[in-house]
């Protein structure tokens, strides 16, 4: 085995030292000279209009530069499409500071810019704004019968397939059946880094924009269209992003604010949201779901029906795939899926880790547990009986699917066979013990992306792509891919991202980055490889003179013949012999639609959970989790494992803690801070085991990767809910399961 064989190796994160030493710089940390600070002011009402803004006292403060509001914002782009970012849903995007209308509570209504962060904050606090409130509606309960089916929706949205078979009749005729509603409230992404943008004003309208985003190009095209800037005038840089989880897919308010202020004041400006303001934009929508299942005498599914209704704003129709999974995770000939939205006076929801699937898999997988009990079957056995070898939504086979292996290996590792199926039958000391399981399915997708490679005469390879690393490990795995394909030590590879000057890449989301950027990097490396071979063949006495590209390999810093490794040229020497300081190549990669068209491309997982419940007090501890994931090839088991560990923590959070509470009197989220919006702390997390069941799949993409950032979350909340039922005999169908739900 060569030393430069990196794919599949558990390398430490290449950006690790910078992150642990505190030298990794995030958007609000570029302390450019002459920086002014902006502070956002938000609406206290959910609907109505601004009737008066009195900025006189604020402007009288020495050091305050300007108060921006709808009253003084210059003429900007007129058309809705100028405000639409790459992943905007259908509708009319919110325009900050556009007019007097208030569309949601916490709406940004003004920006105060001052010399210091403290002065801006103080000045914002004394700005007098008068509002006239109008009646608002923020409660989805009032919209139960008023849902509507959305149109085409945003990128990645697929409307549910039409019904198949005879789902109503078969449900009625089923031997056993269930019909239940499942509910979860609003959740906010709350990445650790608060949204911030530092705009460095370079003169003559030229800007360097350091933005917290999951896609520098998306931020760039937004500000270019809104402010009429050229590509050269608006460079967006995003080297490190302190968590995204979907919140950075769309440009957020502070980007607009900071660019506006910098252009108007002709000065560098930073705007950072507060934690409280992090509740002023997208969220996972409050969703009501109904699942009806029926079984035949042999324990096969007779019918599956799944309907979802969730909130959206008055101005955009946010969509996500909530119910489609229920038509493909299990084999069933009779399926009916429904999906509706309801408009409320809230901000538009936004993709949040495994959007739709985290939600849909909760409802489906709790319903499957209920169905298993109703039919007198073991929940795992019930799932295996109804295993889908084919995607019935698309009527296509899977390019690869090792969910069965996930079930078996996960169950074995967990010790599922020790489970006594009767609820309330297992105890440890005073605690009730419950075992639950669930699973899920997620898209394996690839988007068009580009990469550029540049090899210098000292043997250092620079690789560039305008993608992002929100903590997923992109820096590391792309370094591995490039090192592998050009046979260089990882130390010789410098992967750079997060800059609009680099080759185009999609936003980092949808678990598609490894596939999309990975393939582009591979292609660029191969393109450079061909150039290197040609150059090597020009070298005097080259041992590779007659070699074709398929005859050579790049290993251990050498270009050599596959069949006669002794015939080799040192790669660095090739660049030196070229007489140039570096050799470069770039490439793009797109999915091979021809190859893929006959297949359904998906990743799967199976989760097994042990909970311990103190029944008197209602407290729940998730003491053990085994998460078995089949997501194609794993480039780095280290970073991939971390993605799944994090997903489990997210699932625990979703199951037991997370909810943004709305007070409908005010149409306002009330727990809008990190003290009252609970996510787990270290003491909440116990043993988590991650298993990867690797799949060989050359159909999904040439690297065989399916993406790992989201699939691990699926089924976790359901497995916990099911384990709580097994422990206590109490079926909770509304998340989060806070202790009062068990009293």
């Amino acid at each position: 085995m060569s030393q430069t064989n990196y794919i599949g190796k558990a390398l430490n994160r290449v950006d690790g030292p910078a992150k642990v030493a505190g030298t990794a710089k995030y958007a609000a940390e570029f302390n450019v000279p002459g920086l002014a600070y902006g502070y956002i002011v938000n609406s206290p009402i959910a609907k109505g209009k601004i009737t008066r803004i009195d900025a006189a006292e604020v402007l009288a403060l020495p050091g305050v530069h300007r108060v921006f509001s709808h009253e003084n914002v210059p003429m900007l782009a007129i058309l809705d499409r100028s405000y639409k970012d790459d992943v905007a849903p259908g509708g009319s995007p919110f325009r900050p500071l556009h007019d007097a209308e208030i569309k949601f509570s916490l709406q940004p209504v003004a920006l105060v810019v001052a010399d210091t962060i403290e002065l801006a904050r103080y000045a914002a606090s004394i700005l007098k704004i008068e509002y006239e409130a109008a009646p608002h509606e923020t409660d989805i309960e009032t919209k139960r019968t008023k849902g509507f089916e959305p149109g085409r929706g945003k990128t990645g949205f697929t409307p549910p397939p039409p019904p198949r078979g005879n789902p109503d009749r078969e449900l009625k005729n089923a031997v056993h059946s269930i019909d239940q509603e499942y509910v979860h409230g609003t959740q906010h992404h709350n990445p650790m880094e608060m949204f911030g943008t530092t705009v460095e004003y370079l003169g003559e309208g030229k800007l360097n924009v350091y933005d917290k985003t999951q896609g520098a190009l998306n931020s760039q095209q937004y500000i270019r269209k809104v402010f009429g800037l050229s590509k050269e005038e608006a460079r967006v840089i995003s080297k490190y992003t302190g968590g995204g989880f979907g919140s950075g897919l769309r440009p957020q308010h502070q980007l607009f604010m900071a660019v506006l202020a910098a252009l108007e004041l002709k000065q560098s400006v930073r705007v950072t949201m507060t934690r409280q303001q992090m509740f002023s934009f997208g969220h996972r929508p409050h969703t009501l779901q109904t699942v009806k299942l029926g079984t035949n005498a042999d324990g096969t599914l007779a019918a599956v029906q799944h309907h979802a209704l969730h909130e959206t704003s008055q101005f955009e129709d946010y969509t996500e795939n909530v119910v489609n999974w229920s038509g493909m995770l299990y084999q069933c000939a009779n399926v009916k899926l429904g999906y509706q939205l309801a408009k409320l006076d809230v901000y538009t929801p936004q993709d949040m880790r495994a959007p739709g699937a985290a939600t849909g898999s909760f409802a489906l997988e709790v319903a499957m547990d209920e169905m298993a009990y109703a039919a007198g079957l073991d929940p795992l056995d019930f799932r295996i009986r109804n295993y889908a070898d084919r995607d019935q939504n698309l009527d296509k086979p899977f390019s690869s699917k090792k969910l069965r292996e996930c079930y078996h290996e996960g169950a074995a590792k967990f010790g599922w066979e020790k489970r006594n199926p009767a609820p309330r039958s297992m105890r440890q000391g005073n605690m009730l013990v419950g075992y639950g399981m669930a699973g899920g399915v997620w898209d394996a997708s690839q988007q068009k992306a580009g990469a550029k490679v540049s090899l210098s005469a000292d043997g250092m390879l620079t690789v560039q792509s305008a993608t992002n690393d929100i903590g997923t490990g992109t820096y590391t795995i792309m370094t591995q891919v490039a090192a592998e394909y050009l046979g260089l030590p990882v130390e010789a590879v410098d992967f750079q991202l997060g800059d609009t000057e680099f080759p185009a890449a999609p936003v980092q989301g949808g678990s598609w980055t490894a596939a999309s950027i990975g393939t582009a990097v591979k292609n660029a490396c191969e393109a450079l490889g061909e150039k290197l071979l040609k150059q090597a063949q020009k070298m005097k006495g080259s041992p590779l003179e007659d070699a074709k590209f398929e005859d050579v390999e790049f290993v251990n810093g050498q270009l050599r013949l596959r069949l006669d490794p002794g015939q080799a040229v040192v790669i660095r020497d090739i660049v030196q012999a070229s007489g140039e300081t570096k050799m470069e190549a770039d490439a793009t990669a797109a999915p091979n639609l021809l190859k893929q068209q006959g297949y359904s491309l998906h990743a799967h997982n199976a989760v097994f959970v042990e909970v311990q419940v103190d029944e008197d007090l209602g407290t729940i501890h998730v003491t053990r989790v085994v998460n078995a994931v089949a997501a194609g090839r794993i480039i780095n088991p280290n970073t991939a494992r971390s993605q799944v560990l994090g997903s489990v923590v997210w699932g625990i959070s979703m199951a037991l803690m997370e909810e943004t509470v709305m007070d409908h009197q005010f149409g306002r989220y009330m727990n809008h801070n990190y003290a009252e919006y609970h996510i787990p702390v270290n003491a909440d997390i116990h043993d988590i085991d991650v298993l990867f069941v690797e799949e060989e799949d050359d159909i999904v993409n040439p690297l065989g990767v399916k993406g790992i950032g989201e699939v691990g979350l699926l089924g976790v909340a359901a497995a916990i809910t099911n384990a709580v039922y097994h422990a206590t005999g109490r079926r909770v169908r509304e998340l989060p399961i806070m202790l009062d739900k068990l009293l």
Binding site: R13, A21, L61, T116, E193, T272, A683
Partner: protein, 174 residues
């Protein structure tokens, strides 16, 4: 009649803003001379006035631990103290624990155990773990979990944070 609202904190506008004064802070063993108003927190002093951006702002209200630094060896939330209140104290930030080329044992353990993903809570976690080691109270895994619970990690790296801290603690004992 529509309801009307007026907002603003109700604070009086005060044209005479707080005067700045010379503030001497000893950070990572180095004396820093600053000109600050009293309303500057230690966190903002580090990030906005001294370019020590390794210390992170995750909530600015003592609810996340990202801003953790060591003051006289004890971990605190730098967002909830004023810079002027820390004159005369010994302040250690993540930059003072080690450098990229010379990582402290905790920093190295965090890398080795992949004890972070996005990295934003990481300096706070490491400073907090250093404080935990200095305290000498945590001995078991359960105690480490509890005493590392003042630092949120939204990426959910808690298991790996535990192993990293445990490793350094065990090595210390050995």
């Amino acid at each position: 009649m529509p309801e009307t609202f007026t907002t603003s904190s109700g604070a009086a506008a005060n044209a005479s803003l707080p005067p700045t004064r010379a503030v001497k802070l000893r950070i990572n063993g180095v004396e820093k001379q600053l000109q600050l108003a009293p309303w500057t927190t230690l966190l903002d002093a580090l990030r906005e006035y001294l370019d020590l951006t390794g210390t992170k702002k995750g909530c600015d209200h003592g609810q996340c631990g990202a801003c953790t630094v060591l003051v006289d060896g004890k971990r605190i939330n730098s967002c909830l103290t004023l810079a002027v209140m820390k004159e005369g104290a010994d302040i250690t930030t993540i930059e003072g624990l080690g450098t990229e080329d010379n990582l402290s044992p905790l920093q190295q353990a965090f890398v080795d155990h992949d004890a972070f993903q996005c990295g934003y809570c990481t300096p706070g976690q490491i400073c907090s773990a250093q404080g935990l080691l200095n305290e000498g109270k945590a001995k078991t895994a359960a105690e480490i979990r509890e005493l590392m619970s003042g630092n949120l990690c939204r990426c959910g790296a808690y298991s790996n944070i535990l192993s990293a801290v445990q490793e350094v603690l065990d090595n210390q004992k050995a």
